[in-house]
Amino acid sequence: MSTLTVPAQVPSVTEDCEQLRKAFEGWGTNEQLIISILAHRNAAQRKLIRQTYADTYGEDLLKSLDKELTNDFERVVMLWTLDPAERDAFLANEATKRWTSSNQVLMEIACTRSSKQLLEARQAYHARFKKSLEEDVGYHTNGDFRKLLLPLVTAYRYEGDEVNITLAKSEAKILHEKISNKAYNDEDLIRILATRSKAQINATLNQYKNVYGNDIDQDLEADPKDEYLDLLRATVQCLVRPEHYFEKILRLAINKQGTDEGALTRVVTTRAEVDLKVIKDEYQRRNSVPLDRAVVKDTSGDYEKMLLALLGHGDA
Protein backbone atom coordinates (compact mmCIF):
# COMPACT_ATOMS: atom_id res chain seq x y z
CA MET A 1 0.00 0.00 0.00
CA SER A 2 1.17 3.45 -0.84
CA THR A 3 2.30 5.92 1.79
CA LEU A 4 2.00 8.88 -0.51
CA THR A 5 -0.33 11.63 0.65
CA VAL A 6 -1.81 13.90 -1.98
CA PRO A 7 -3.90 16.89 -0.87
CA ALA A 8 -7.64 16.64 -1.43
CA GLN A 9 -7.58 19.84 -3.46
CA VAL A 10 -4.56 19.63 -5.72
CA PRO A 11 -3.39 22.95 -7.17
CA SER A 12 -3.39 23.22 -10.94
CA VAL A 13 -0.31 22.06 -12.79
CA THR A 14 0.46 25.62 -13.82
CA GLU A 15 0.38 26.73 -10.21
CA ASP A 16 2.65 23.87 -9.17
CA CYS A 17 5.13 24.82 -11.88
CA GLU A 18 5.06 28.48 -10.92
CA GLN A 19 5.68 27.64 -7.29
CA LEU A 20 8.53 25.31 -8.17
CA ARG A 21 10.08 27.99 -10.36
CA LYS A 22 9.76 30.42 -7.46
CA ALA A 23 11.48 27.91 -5.21
CA PHE A 24 14.56 28.09 -7.44
CA GLU A 25 14.67 31.85 -7.75
CA GLY A 26 17.01 34.10 -5.91
CA TRP A 27 20.02 33.24 -3.85
CA GLY A 28 18.86 30.18 -2.05
CA THR A 29 16.43 27.44 -2.75
CA ASN A 30 13.16 26.99 -0.97
CA GLU A 31 13.54 23.30 -0.22
CA GLN A 32 10.46 23.17 1.94
CA LEU A 33 8.36 24.43 -0.95
CA ILE A 34 9.83 21.79 -3.23
CA ILE A 35 9.05 19.08 -0.73
CA SER A 36 5.56 20.37 -0.08
CA ILE A 37 4.75 20.08 -3.77
CA LEU A 38 6.70 17.17 -5.23
CA ALA A 39 6.45 14.87 -2.21
CA HIS A 40 2.69 15.11 -2.41
CA ARG A 41 2.07 14.35 -6.06
CA ASN A 42 1.68 10.92 -7.61
CA ALA A 43 3.54 9.66 -10.67
CA ALA A 44 0.97 10.88 -13.17
CA GLN A 45 0.88 14.31 -11.57
CA ARG A 46 4.66 14.56 -11.41
CA LYS A 47 4.89 13.62 -15.07
CA LEU A 48 2.45 16.35 -16.01
CA ILE A 49 4.37 18.85 -13.91
CA ARG A 50 7.61 17.91 -15.64
CA GLN A 51 6.08 18.29 -19.07
CA THR A 52 4.40 21.60 -18.28
CA TYR A 53 7.50 22.95 -16.58
CA ALA A 54 9.60 22.13 -19.64
CA ASP A 55 7.03 23.68 -21.99
CA THR A 56 6.76 26.82 -19.88
CA TYR A 57 10.37 27.45 -18.91
CA GLY A 58 12.23 25.63 -21.67
CA GLU A 59 14.18 23.47 -19.20
CA ASP A 60 13.69 20.01 -17.79
CA LEU A 61 12.60 20.23 -14.16
CA LEU A 62 15.28 17.70 -13.29
CA LYS A 63 17.91 19.99 -14.69
CA SER A 64 16.71 22.85 -12.49
CA LEU A 65 16.73 20.52 -9.50
CA ASP A 66 20.23 19.39 -10.35
CA LYS A 67 21.44 22.98 -10.47
CA GLU A 68 19.85 23.99 -7.21
CA LEU A 69 20.09 20.97 -4.93
CA THR A 70 22.93 18.89 -3.59
CA ASN A 71 23.85 15.60 -2.01
CA ASP A 72 21.34 13.26 -0.45
CA PHE A 73 18.46 15.70 -0.72
CA GLU A 74 19.09 16.19 -4.42
CA ARG A 75 19.27 12.48 -5.04
CA VAL A 76 16.05 11.68 -3.21
CA VAL A 77 14.17 14.47 -5.00
CA MET A 78 15.66 13.53 -8.37
CA LEU A 79 14.84 9.86 -8.02
CA TRP A 80 11.36 10.67 -6.77
CA THR A 81 10.61 13.04 -9.63
CA LEU A 82 11.54 10.51 -12.31
CA ASP A 83 8.72 8.30 -13.36
CA PRO A 84 8.96 4.73 -12.13
CA ALA A 85 10.22 3.23 -15.37
CA GLU A 86 12.93 5.86 -15.83
CA ARG A 87 13.88 5.55 -12.22
CA ASP A 88 14.37 1.80 -12.53
CA ALA A 89 16.35 2.27 -15.73
CA PHE A 90 18.56 4.86 -14.03
CA LEU A 91 19.17 2.68 -10.97
CA ALA A 92 19.85 -0.38 -13.10
CA ASN A 93 22.33 1.49 -15.26
CA GLU A 94 24.11 2.81 -12.19
CA ALA A 95 24.26 -0.74 -10.88
CA THR A 96 26.23 -1.86 -13.92
CA LYS A 97 28.86 0.85 -13.67
CA ARG A 98 32.14 0.04 -12.07
CA TRP A 99 32.15 2.30 -9.03
CA THR A 100 28.50 1.92 -8.24
CA SER A 101 28.04 -1.65 -9.35
CA SER A 102 25.53 -3.69 -7.47
CA ASN A 103 24.27 -7.10 -8.37
CA GLN A 104 21.80 -6.74 -5.57
CA VAL A 105 20.10 -3.68 -7.05
CA LEU A 106 19.82 -5.39 -10.43
CA MET A 107 18.22 -8.42 -8.81
CA GLU A 108 15.95 -6.22 -6.69
CA ILE A 109 14.60 -4.39 -9.71
CA ALA A 110 14.19 -7.55 -11.74
CA CYS A 111 12.38 -9.46 -9.01
CA THR A 112 10.24 -6.97 -7.11
CA ARG A 113 8.67 -5.24 -10.10
CA SER A 114 5.65 -6.60 -11.91
CA SER A 115 6.22 -8.01 -15.39
CA LYS A 116 4.80 -4.85 -16.90
CA GLN A 117 6.95 -2.58 -14.73
CA LEU A 118 10.13 -4.49 -15.56
CA LEU A 119 9.25 -4.27 -19.22
CA GLU A 120 8.65 -0.53 -19.00
CA ALA A 121 11.99 -0.17 -17.26
CA ARG A 122 13.64 -2.00 -20.17
CA GLN A 123 11.94 0.33 -22.63
CA ALA A 124 13.00 3.38 -20.64
CA TYR A 125 16.52 1.95 -20.65
CA HIS A 126 16.56 1.84 -24.46
CA ALA A 127 15.36 5.42 -24.65
CA ARG A 128 17.81 6.83 -22.18
CA PHE A 129 20.94 4.76 -22.65
CA LYS A 130 20.61 3.68 -26.28
CA LYS A 131 21.33 0.12 -25.32
CA SER A 132 19.38 -2.75 -23.90
CA LEU A 133 19.48 -3.44 -20.18
CA GLU A 134 20.45 -7.02 -20.84
CA GLU A 135 23.45 -6.16 -22.96
CA ASP A 136 24.85 -3.98 -20.20
CA VAL A 137 24.09 -6.53 -17.49
CA GLY A 138 25.62 -9.28 -19.65
CA TYR A 139 28.70 -7.25 -20.35
CA HIS A 140 29.35 -5.99 -16.84
CA THR A 141 28.68 -9.12 -14.83
CA ASN A 142 30.28 -12.49 -15.06
CA GLY A 143 30.39 -16.01 -13.71
CA ASP A 144 27.55 -17.23 -11.54
CA PHE A 145 26.23 -13.70 -11.05
CA ARG A 146 25.67 -13.30 -14.76
CA LYS A 147 24.11 -16.76 -14.97
CA LEU A 148 21.55 -15.65 -12.44
CA LEU A 149 21.06 -12.00 -13.34
CA LEU A 150 20.62 -12.22 -17.12
CA PRO A 151 17.58 -14.49 -16.98
CA LEU A 152 16.17 -12.42 -14.10
CA VAL A 153 16.33 -9.10 -15.95
CA THR A 154 14.95 -10.54 -19.20
CA ALA A 155 12.03 -12.38 -17.63
CA TYR A 156 8.47 -11.61 -18.60
CA ARG A 157 6.72 -13.77 -16.06
CA TYR A 158 3.15 -14.91 -16.38
CA GLU A 159 1.19 -13.04 -13.70
CA GLY A 160 -1.86 -15.19 -13.11
CA ASP A 161 -2.70 -17.04 -9.90
CA GLU A 162 -2.94 -20.45 -11.53
CA VAL A 163 -0.69 -22.93 -9.85
CA ASN A 164 0.17 -26.49 -10.85
CA ILE A 165 0.74 -28.46 -7.66
CA THR A 166 2.24 -31.46 -9.41
CA LEU A 167 4.76 -29.19 -11.07
CA ALA A 168 5.39 -27.45 -7.74
CA LYS A 169 6.19 -30.80 -6.15
CA SER A 170 8.54 -31.87 -8.89
CA GLU A 171 10.34 -28.54 -8.99
CA ALA A 172 10.63 -28.48 -5.20
CA LYS A 173 12.37 -31.82 -5.56
CA ILE A 174 14.76 -30.45 -8.15
CA LEU A 175 15.58 -27.46 -5.96
CA HIS A 176 16.19 -29.66 -2.95
CA GLU A 177 18.43 -31.97 -4.92
CA LYS A 178 20.54 -29.18 -6.34
CA ILE A 179 20.84 -27.42 -3.02
CA SER A 180 21.79 -30.63 -1.24
CA ASN A 181 24.58 -31.04 -3.78
CA LYS A 182 25.62 -27.41 -3.29
CA ALA A 183 24.96 -26.88 -6.99
CA TYR A 184 23.75 -23.36 -6.37
CA ASN A 185 24.46 -22.17 -9.90
CA ASP A 186 22.72 -25.12 -11.50
CA GLU A 187 20.83 -24.34 -14.71
CA ASP A 188 17.60 -25.91 -13.57
CA LEU A 189 17.66 -24.16 -10.23
CA ILE A 190 18.14 -20.82 -11.95
CA ARG A 191 15.59 -21.71 -14.62
CA ILE A 192 12.89 -22.31 -12.02
CA LEU A 193 13.58 -19.07 -10.18
CA ALA A 194 13.96 -16.99 -13.31
CA THR A 195 11.06 -18.18 -15.45
CA ARG A 196 8.19 -19.43 -13.32
CA SER A 197 5.38 -17.12 -12.25
CA LYS A 198 5.61 -15.76 -8.72
CA ALA A 199 2.50 -17.70 -7.71
CA GLN A 200 4.04 -20.90 -9.00
CA ILE A 201 7.33 -20.24 -7.22
CA ASN A 202 5.45 -19.58 -4.01
CA ALA A 203 3.64 -22.91 -4.33
CA THR A 204 6.93 -24.64 -5.06
CA LEU A 205 8.55 -23.18 -1.94
CA ASN A 206 5.58 -24.24 0.16
CA GLN A 207 5.97 -27.79 -1.13
CA TYR A 208 9.68 -27.54 -0.38
CA LYS A 209 8.95 -26.74 3.23
CA ASN A 210 6.19 -29.34 3.51
CA VAL A 211 8.27 -32.17 2.14
CA TYR A 212 11.79 -31.37 3.31
CA GLY A 213 11.06 -29.63 6.60
CA ASN A 214 13.17 -26.51 6.13
CA ASP A 215 12.51 -23.18 4.52
CA ILE A 216 14.60 -22.94 1.40
CA ASP A 217 16.16 -19.91 3.02
CA GLN A 218 17.71 -22.00 5.78
CA ASP A 219 19.12 -24.49 3.31
CA LEU A 220 20.72 -21.69 1.34
CA GLU A 221 22.70 -20.46 4.31
CA ALA A 222 25.59 -22.84 3.87
CA ASP A 223 28.36 -20.31 3.56
CA PRO A 224 27.89 -16.87 5.11
CA LYS A 225 30.77 -15.38 3.11
CA ASP A 226 29.46 -16.53 -0.22
CA GLU A 227 28.17 -13.46 -2.04
CA TYR A 228 26.48 -15.46 -4.73
CA LEU A 229 24.55 -17.45 -2.15
CA ASP A 230 23.53 -14.19 -0.51
CA LEU A 231 22.19 -12.98 -3.80
CA LEU A 232 20.34 -16.23 -4.37
CA ARG A 233 18.67 -16.02 -0.97
CA ALA A 234 17.72 -12.40 -1.59
CA THR A 235 16.32 -13.39 -4.98
CA VAL A 236 13.99 -15.90 -3.40
CA GLN A 237 12.92 -13.36 -0.81
CA CYS A 238 12.24 -10.69 -3.42
CA LEU A 239 10.12 -13.05 -5.44
CA VAL A 240 7.83 -14.25 -2.68
CA ARG A 241 8.20 -11.88 0.31
CA PRO A 242 9.34 -8.51 -1.01
CA GLU A 243 8.20 -6.64 2.09
CA HIS A 244 10.51 -8.76 4.25
CA TYR A 245 13.36 -8.12 1.87
CA PHE A 246 12.80 -4.36 1.88
CA GLU A 247 12.44 -4.26 5.66
CA LYS A 248 15.80 -5.94 5.95
CA ILE A 249 17.43 -3.53 3.51
CA LEU A 250 16.07 -0.62 5.49
CA ARG A 251 17.12 -2.10 8.79
CA LEU A 252 20.68 -2.68 7.57
CA ALA A 253 20.82 0.79 6.01
CA ILE A 254 19.73 2.47 9.21
CA ASN A 255 21.70 0.37 11.65
CA LYS A 256 24.82 0.69 9.62
CA GLN A 257 27.50 2.92 11.08
CA GLY A 258 26.64 6.24 9.46
CA THR A 259 23.59 5.06 7.54
CA ASP A 260 23.49 3.85 3.98
CA GLU A 261 21.62 6.73 2.40
CA GLY A 262 21.81 5.15 -1.03
CA ALA A 263 19.76 2.15 0.06
CA LEU A 264 17.40 4.25 2.19
CA THR A 265 16.70 6.64 -0.67
CA ARG A 266 16.28 3.84 -3.15
CA VAL A 267 13.79 1.85 -1.09
CA VAL A 268 11.70 4.86 -0.07
CA THR A 269 11.45 6.38 -3.54
CA THR A 270 10.81 3.10 -5.33
CA ARG A 271 8.25 1.75 -2.89
CA ALA A 272 6.38 4.86 -1.69
CA GLU A 273 3.72 4.38 -4.35
CA VAL A 274 3.75 0.60 -4.15
CA ASP A 275 3.95 -1.07 -0.75
CA LEU A 276 5.83 1.19 1.63
CA LYS A 277 2.94 1.00 4.09
CA VAL A 278 3.32 -2.77 4.34
CA ILE A 279 7.08 -2.41 4.64
CA LYS A 280 6.61 0.15 7.43
CA ASP A 281 4.35 -2.24 9.32
CA GLU A 282 6.87 -5.00 8.87
CA TYR A 283 9.64 -2.69 10.09
CA GLN A 284 7.74 -1.82 13.24
CA ARG A 285 6.93 -5.47 13.85
CA ARG A 286 10.54 -6.52 13.48
CA ASN A 287 12.29 -3.61 15.21
CA SER A 288 9.69 -2.48 17.74
CA VAL A 289 10.11 1.09 16.63
CA PRO A 290 8.31 2.93 13.82
CA LEU A 291 10.30 3.47 10.65
CA ASP A 292 9.54 7.19 10.81
CA ARG A 293 11.21 7.49 14.17
CA ALA A 294 14.26 5.54 13.01
CA VAL A 295 14.59 7.84 10.01
CA VAL A 296 14.35 10.92 12.24
CA LYS A 297 17.06 9.56 14.48
CA ASP A 298 19.35 8.68 11.64
CA THR A 299 19.00 11.47 9.11
CA SER A 300 18.71 15.22 9.19
CA GLY A 301 17.83 18.39 7.33
CA ASP A 302 15.92 18.51 4.12
CA TYR A 303 16.84 14.94 3.30
CA GLU A 304 15.08 13.79 6.45
CA LYS A 305 12.06 15.98 5.71
CA MET A 306 11.69 14.58 2.21
CA LEU A 307 11.92 11.01 3.43
CA LEU A 308 9.33 11.65 6.12
CA ALA A 309 7.00 13.23 3.59
CA LEU A 310 7.29 10.19 1.35
CA LEU A 311 6.74 7.94 4.33
CA GLY A 312 3.42 9.66 4.84
CA HIS A 313 4.50 11.20 8.09
CA GLY A 314 1.92 13.60 9.59
CA ASP A 315 3.24 17.10 9.41
CA ALA A 316 5.88 16.98 6.72
Binding site: L119, R122, Q123, H126, K130, K131, S132, L133, E134, E135, V137, G138, Y139, R146, K147, L150, P151, T154, A155, Y156, R157, Y158, E159, G160, E162, E187, R191, A194, T195, R196, S197
Partner: protein, 310 residues
Protein backbone atom coordinates in the same frame (compact mmCIF):
# COMPACT_ATOMS: atom_id res chain seq x y z
CA UNK B 1 -3.36 -43.58 -67.99
CA UNK B 2 -2.96 -39.85 -68.48
CA UNK B 3 -5.87 -39.09 -66.23
CA UNK B 4 -4.62 -41.19 -63.35
CA UNK B 5 -1.29 -39.46 -63.67
CA UNK B 6 -2.93 -36.09 -63.68
CA UNK B 7 -4.92 -37.04 -60.59
CA UNK B 8 -1.84 -38.23 -58.75
CA UNK B 9 -0.14 -35.00 -59.70
CA UNK B 10 -3.08 -33.01 -58.37
CA UNK B 11 -2.47 -34.56 -54.96
CA UNK B 12 1.30 -34.30 -54.91
CA UNK B 13 2.95 -31.13 -53.88
CA UNK B 14 1.88 -28.36 -51.62
CA UNK B 15 -1.89 -28.09 -51.44
CA UNK B 16 -4.40 -29.77 -53.75
CA UNK B 17 -5.26 -28.85 -57.32
CA UNK B 18 -8.98 -28.76 -56.67
CA UNK B 19 -9.96 -27.94 -60.24
CA UNK B 20 -8.24 -31.01 -61.64
CA UNK B 21 -9.67 -33.23 -58.94
CA UNK B 22 -13.14 -31.91 -59.65
CA UNK B 23 -12.86 -32.28 -63.40
CA UNK B 24 -11.29 -35.73 -63.40
CA UNK B 25 -12.58 -37.44 -60.30
CA UNK B 26 -15.85 -35.58 -60.32
CA UNK B 27 -16.53 -36.66 -63.87
CA UNK B 28 -15.41 -40.22 -63.37
CA UNK B 29 -17.45 -43.34 -63.74
CA UNK B 30 -17.10 -46.27 -61.31
CA UNK B 31 -14.65 -48.10 -63.59
CA UNK B 32 -12.40 -45.01 -63.78
CA UNK B 33 -12.26 -44.80 -60.06
CA UNK B 34 -11.51 -48.50 -59.84
CA UNK B 35 -8.62 -48.03 -62.22
CA UNK B 36 -7.40 -45.17 -60.05
CA UNK B 37 -7.63 -47.34 -56.99
CA UNK B 38 -5.74 -50.17 -58.64
CA UNK B 39 -2.98 -48.07 -60.11
CA UNK B 40 -2.75 -44.89 -58.11
CA UNK B 41 -0.57 -46.22 -55.32
CA UNK B 42 -2.87 -44.68 -52.75
CA UNK B 43 -4.67 -47.97 -52.15
CA UNK B 44 -3.74 -51.50 -51.22
CA UNK B 45 -5.37 -54.81 -51.90
CA UNK B 46 -7.25 -55.92 -48.84
CA UNK B 47 -7.42 -59.66 -48.01
CA UNK B 48 -11.15 -59.54 -48.58
CA UNK B 49 -10.64 -58.54 -52.20
CA UNK B 50 -11.21 -54.81 -52.34
CA UNK B 51 -8.84 -51.90 -52.85
CA UNK B 52 -8.53 -50.13 -49.57
CA UNK B 53 -7.37 -46.56 -48.90
CA UNK B 54 -3.92 -46.52 -47.46
CA UNK B 55 -4.28 -44.80 -44.05
CA UNK B 56 -1.00 -43.06 -44.47
CA UNK B 57 -2.10 -41.54 -47.75
CA UNK B 58 -5.39 -40.39 -46.33
CA UNK B 59 -3.40 -38.55 -43.66
CA UNK B 60 -1.17 -36.98 -46.26
CA UNK B 61 -4.17 -35.88 -48.26
CA UNK B 62 -5.70 -34.40 -45.15
CA UNK B 63 -2.58 -32.30 -44.65
CA UNK B 64 -2.57 -31.17 -48.22
CA UNK B 65 -6.22 -30.15 -48.16
CA UNK B 66 -5.62 -28.32 -44.86
CA UNK B 67 -2.69 -26.34 -46.16
CA UNK B 68 -4.95 -23.67 -47.64
CA UNK B 69 -7.12 -23.45 -44.54
CA UNK B 70 -4.08 -23.21 -42.27
CA UNK B 71 -2.58 -20.48 -44.39
CA UNK B 72 -5.80 -18.48 -44.30
CA UNK B 73 -6.22 -18.82 -40.54
CA UNK B 74 -2.60 -17.91 -39.93
CA UNK B 75 -2.82 -14.93 -42.27
CA UNK B 76 -5.88 -13.48 -40.59
CA UNK B 77 -4.38 -13.82 -37.13
CA UNK B 78 -2.89 -10.95 -35.21
CA UNK B 79 0.90 -11.22 -35.63
CA UNK B 80 1.33 -11.56 -31.87
CA UNK B 81 -1.06 -14.51 -31.62
CA UNK B 82 0.51 -15.97 -34.72
CA UNK B 83 4.01 -15.95 -33.32
CA UNK B 84 2.84 -17.20 -29.91
CA UNK B 85 1.03 -20.14 -31.52
CA UNK B 86 3.94 -20.95 -33.82
CA UNK B 87 6.27 -21.12 -30.86
CA UNK B 88 3.87 -23.31 -28.89
CA UNK B 89 3.51 -25.64 -31.84
CA UNK B 90 7.28 -25.81 -32.26
CA UNK B 91 7.68 -26.72 -28.59
CA UNK B 92 5.16 -29.51 -28.95
CA UNK B 93 6.77 -30.88 -32.09
CA UNK B 94 10.15 -31.41 -30.46
CA UNK B 95 13.82 -30.69 -31.14
CA UNK B 96 13.50 -30.69 -34.92
CA UNK B 97 11.39 -27.58 -34.68
CA UNK B 98 13.79 -25.66 -32.47
CA UNK B 99 14.83 -23.66 -35.52
CA UNK B 100 11.33 -22.18 -35.69
CA UNK B 101 11.77 -20.80 -32.19
CA UNK B 102 15.10 -19.32 -33.20
CA UNK B 103 13.49 -17.89 -36.32
CA UNK B 104 10.73 -16.10 -34.48
CA UNK B 105 12.87 -14.86 -31.63
CA UNK B 106 15.58 -13.53 -33.95
CA UNK B 107 13.82 -12.12 -36.99
CA UNK B 108 11.09 -10.14 -35.25
CA UNK B 109 11.56 -6.59 -34.04
CA UNK B 110 11.87 -6.09 -30.30
CA UNK B 111 8.27 -4.96 -29.98
CA UNK B 112 6.98 -7.79 -32.16
CA UNK B 113 8.72 -10.37 -29.99
CA UNK B 114 7.39 -8.60 -26.92
CA UNK B 115 3.88 -8.79 -28.37
CA UNK B 116 4.32 -12.51 -28.91
CA UNK B 117 5.34 -12.88 -25.27
CA UNK B 118 2.23 -11.03 -24.16
CA UNK B 119 -0.05 -13.08 -26.39
CA UNK B 120 1.59 -16.23 -25.07
CA UNK B 121 0.59 -15.26 -21.52
CA UNK B 122 -3.02 -14.87 -22.64
CA UNK B 123 -3.17 -18.00 -24.73
CA UNK B 124 -1.22 -20.45 -22.65
CA UNK B 125 -1.02 -19.05 -19.10
CA UNK B 126 2.72 -19.44 -19.00
CA UNK B 127 5.59 -17.32 -20.15
CA UNK B 128 7.44 -18.30 -23.30
CA UNK B 129 10.69 -18.47 -21.44
CA UNK B 130 9.38 -20.87 -18.80
CA UNK B 131 7.99 -23.23 -21.42
CA UNK B 132 11.10 -23.07 -23.55
CA UNK B 133 13.28 -23.58 -20.47
CA UNK B 134 11.32 -26.55 -19.25
CA UNK B 135 10.64 -28.29 -22.58
CA UNK B 136 13.97 -28.02 -24.32
CA UNK B 137 16.76 -30.17 -23.03
CA UNK B 138 19.69 -30.24 -25.39
CA UNK B 139 22.67 -27.99 -25.84
CA UNK B 140 20.51 -25.36 -27.52
CA UNK B 141 18.50 -24.65 -24.42
CA UNK B 142 20.64 -21.85 -23.03
CA UNK B 143 20.69 -19.99 -26.31
CA UNK B 144 17.00 -20.46 -27.02
CA UNK B 145 15.85 -19.23 -23.62
CA UNK B 146 18.11 -16.21 -23.96
CA UNK B 147 16.91 -15.46 -27.50
CA UNK B 148 13.21 -15.48 -26.60
CA UNK B 149 13.90 -13.19 -23.63
CA UNK B 150 15.64 -10.49 -25.60
CA UNK B 151 14.42 -6.93 -25.87
CA UNK B 152 17.13 -5.53 -28.09
CA UNK B 153 17.95 -1.89 -28.46
CA UNK B 154 17.07 -0.91 -32.03
CA UNK B 155 19.16 2.17 -32.71
CA UNK B 156 21.98 2.26 -35.25
CA UNK B 157 24.79 3.11 -32.87
CA UNK B 158 27.63 0.61 -32.77
CA UNK B 159 30.82 0.65 -30.75
CA UNK B 160 33.39 -0.77 -33.13
CA UNK B 161 35.98 -1.57 -30.48
CA UNK B 162 33.47 -3.56 -28.47
CA UNK B 163 32.26 -5.31 -31.63
CA UNK B 164 35.84 -6.22 -32.46
CA UNK B 165 36.57 -7.64 -29.05
CA UNK B 166 33.35 -9.60 -29.13
CA UNK B 167 34.30 -11.01 -32.51
CA UNK B 168 37.52 -12.19 -30.89
CA UNK B 169 35.53 -13.82 -28.09
CA UNK B 170 33.54 -15.71 -30.72
CA UNK B 171 36.66 -16.77 -32.53
CA UNK B 172 38.08 -18.08 -29.31
CA UNK B 173 34.88 -19.98 -28.57
CA UNK B 174 35.01 -21.64 -31.97
CA UNK B 175 38.65 -22.54 -31.53
CA UNK B 176 37.73 -24.19 -28.27
CA UNK B 177 34.93 -26.18 -29.85
CA UNK B 178 36.43 -29.46 -28.83
CA UNK B 179 36.29 -28.62 -25.15
CA UNK B 180 32.97 -26.88 -25.24
CA UNK B 181 30.35 -26.55 -27.93
CA UNK B 182 30.19 -22.85 -28.82
CA UNK B 183 26.41 -22.94 -28.54
CA UNK B 184 26.79 -23.52 -24.81
CA UNK B 185 29.49 -20.93 -24.34
CA UNK B 186 28.30 -18.15 -22.03
CA UNK B 187 29.99 -15.39 -23.98
CA UNK B 188 28.50 -16.58 -27.25
CA UNK B 189 25.04 -16.70 -25.73
CA UNK B 190 25.44 -13.31 -24.11
CA UNK B 191 26.61 -11.62 -27.29
CA UNK B 192 23.98 -13.16 -29.53
CA UNK B 193 21.09 -12.66 -27.16
CA UNK B 194 21.73 -9.17 -25.81
CA UNK B 195 23.42 -7.08 -28.49
CA UNK B 196 21.52 -5.01 -31.02
CA UNK B 197 21.33 -6.27 -34.61
CA UNK B 198 23.46 -3.48 -36.11
CA UNK B 199 26.06 -4.27 -33.46
CA UNK B 200 25.97 -7.94 -34.37
CA UNK B 201 26.40 -7.17 -38.05
CA UNK B 202 29.57 -5.36 -37.12
CA UNK B 203 30.71 -8.22 -34.87
CA UNK B 204 30.43 -10.72 -37.70
CA UNK B 205 32.08 -8.38 -40.14
CA UNK B 206 35.06 -8.25 -37.80
CA UNK B 207 34.85 -12.01 -37.38
CA UNK B 208 35.37 -12.52 -41.10
CA UNK B 209 38.23 -10.03 -41.21
CA UNK B 210 40.10 -11.55 -38.30
CA UNK B 211 39.34 -15.25 -38.72
CA UNK B 212 39.49 -15.20 -42.49
CA UNK B 213 36.18 -16.94 -42.95
CA UNK B 214 32.51 -16.44 -42.29
CA UNK B 215 31.12 -17.67 -39.01
CA UNK B 216 28.58 -19.78 -40.84
CA UNK B 217 31.31 -21.59 -42.71
CA UNK B 218 33.01 -22.80 -39.55
CA UNK B 219 32.67 -26.55 -39.35
CA UNK B 220 32.15 -26.93 -35.65
CA UNK B 221 29.24 -24.60 -35.34
CA UNK B 222 25.95 -26.14 -34.23
CA UNK B 223 23.25 -25.74 -36.87
CA UNK B 224 20.97 -23.89 -34.50
CA UNK B 225 23.75 -21.44 -33.73
CA UNK B 226 24.29 -20.86 -37.43
CA UNK B 227 20.58 -20.34 -37.95
CA UNK B 228 20.49 -17.82 -35.12
CA UNK B 229 23.33 -15.81 -36.63
CA UNK B 230 21.76 -15.91 -40.07
CA UNK B 231 18.39 -14.81 -38.70
CA UNK B 232 19.95 -11.96 -36.81
CA UNK B 233 22.14 -10.49 -39.51
CA UNK B 234 20.87 -11.73 -42.89
CA UNK B 235 17.25 -12.75 -42.36
CA UNK B 236 16.35 -12.66 -46.02
CA UNK B 237 18.95 -15.29 -46.85
CA UNK B 238 17.70 -17.38 -44.00
CA UNK B 239 14.11 -17.16 -45.19
CA UNK B 240 14.90 -17.92 -48.80
CA UNK B 241 16.76 -21.02 -47.63
CA UNK B 242 13.77 -22.15 -45.57
CA UNK B 243 11.54 -21.65 -48.59
CA UNK B 244 13.83 -23.63 -50.83
CA UNK B 245 14.05 -26.50 -48.36
CA UNK B 246 10.26 -26.52 -48.01
CA UNK B 247 9.75 -26.89 -51.73
CA UNK B 248 12.36 -29.52 -52.30
CA UNK B 249 11.12 -32.94 -53.35
CA UNK B 250 10.90 -35.33 -50.45
CA UNK B 251 10.81 -32.60 -47.84
CA UNK B 252 9.33 -33.86 -44.60
CA UNK B 253 6.07 -32.67 -43.11
CA UNK B 254 7.60 -30.06 -40.82
CA UNK B 255 9.97 -28.66 -43.39
CA UNK B 256 7.12 -28.27 -45.88
CA UNK B 257 5.28 -26.04 -43.41
CA UNK B 258 8.03 -23.50 -43.87
CA UNK B 259 6.41 -22.38 -47.11
CA UNK B 260 3.20 -21.24 -45.42
CA UNK B 261 4.98 -19.87 -42.39
CA UNK B 262 7.48 -17.73 -44.26
CA UNK B 263 5.01 -16.40 -46.82
CA UNK B 264 2.39 -15.53 -44.24
CA UNK B 265 4.73 -14.06 -41.64
CA UNK B 266 6.82 -12.04 -44.09
CA UNK B 267 4.27 -10.94 -46.68
CA UNK B 268 3.78 -7.63 -44.84
CA UNK B 269 7.43 -7.25 -43.93
CA UNK B 270 10.15 -8.13 -46.41
CA UNK B 271 8.84 -10.70 -48.86
CA UNK B 272 10.11 -8.62 -51.75
CA UNK B 273 13.65 -8.65 -50.40
CA UNK B 274 13.38 -12.36 -49.68
CA UNK B 275 12.16 -12.89 -53.21
CA UNK B 276 15.15 -11.05 -54.64
CA UNK B 277 17.49 -13.04 -52.46
CA UNK B 278 15.80 -16.24 -53.56
CA UNK B 279 16.26 -15.45 -57.23
CA UNK B 280 19.91 -14.56 -56.69
CA UNK B 281 20.57 -17.76 -54.85
CA UNK B 282 18.47 -20.29 -56.65
CA UNK B 283 18.33 -18.78 -60.14
CA UNK B 284 14.57 -18.91 -60.42
CA UNK B 285 12.00 -16.33 -59.29
CA UNK B 286 10.26 -17.34 -56.10
CA UNK B 287 6.84 -16.89 -57.67
CA UNK B 288 7.79 -19.29 -60.46
CA UNK B 289 8.93 -21.90 -57.98
CA UNK B 290 5.72 -21.60 -56.03
CA UNK B 291 3.76 -21.84 -59.27
CA UNK B 292 5.52 -25.09 -60.03
CA UNK B 293 5.36 -26.71 -56.61
CA UNK B 294 2.13 -25.56 -55.05
CA UNK B 295 -1.37 -26.37 -56.17
CA UNK B 296 -4.90 -25.10 -56.29
CA UNK B 297 -6.32 -22.53 -53.91
CA UNK B 298 -3.29 -22.80 -51.67
CA UNK B 299 -1.02 -21.80 -54.54
CA UNK B 300 -3.25 -18.94 -55.59
CA UNK B 301 -3.43 -17.69 -52.05
CA UNK B 302 0.35 -17.62 -51.67
CA UNK B 303 0.90 -15.96 -55.02
CA UNK B 304 -1.74 -13.37 -54.20
CA UNK B 305 -0.01 -12.59 -50.89
CA UNK B 306 3.22 -12.08 -52.78
CA UNK B 307 1.75 -9.96 -55.51
CA UNK B 308 -0.13 -7.50 -53.33
CA UNK B 309 0.60 -3.91 -54.09
CA UNK B 310 2.38 -4.82 -57.28
Amino acid sequence: MAEIEALIKAFSGHGVDEKTVISILGNSQPEHRQAFRKEGGFFAEDERRFERWNDHHVKLLKHEFMRFKNAVVLWAMHPWERDARLIKEALKKGPNSNSVIVEIASTRSSDELLGARKAYHSLFEHSIEEDVASHIHGKEKKLLVALVSAYRYEGPKVKEDVAKSEAKALISAVKNAEKQNPIENDEVVRILSTRSKPHLKSVFKHYKEIAGQHFEDELDVHLILQAAVQCLITPQSYFSRVLDEAMRDGADKNTKKGLTRVLVTRADVDIRAISDDYRNHYAIPLADKIEAKAKGSYKEFLLTLMARGN
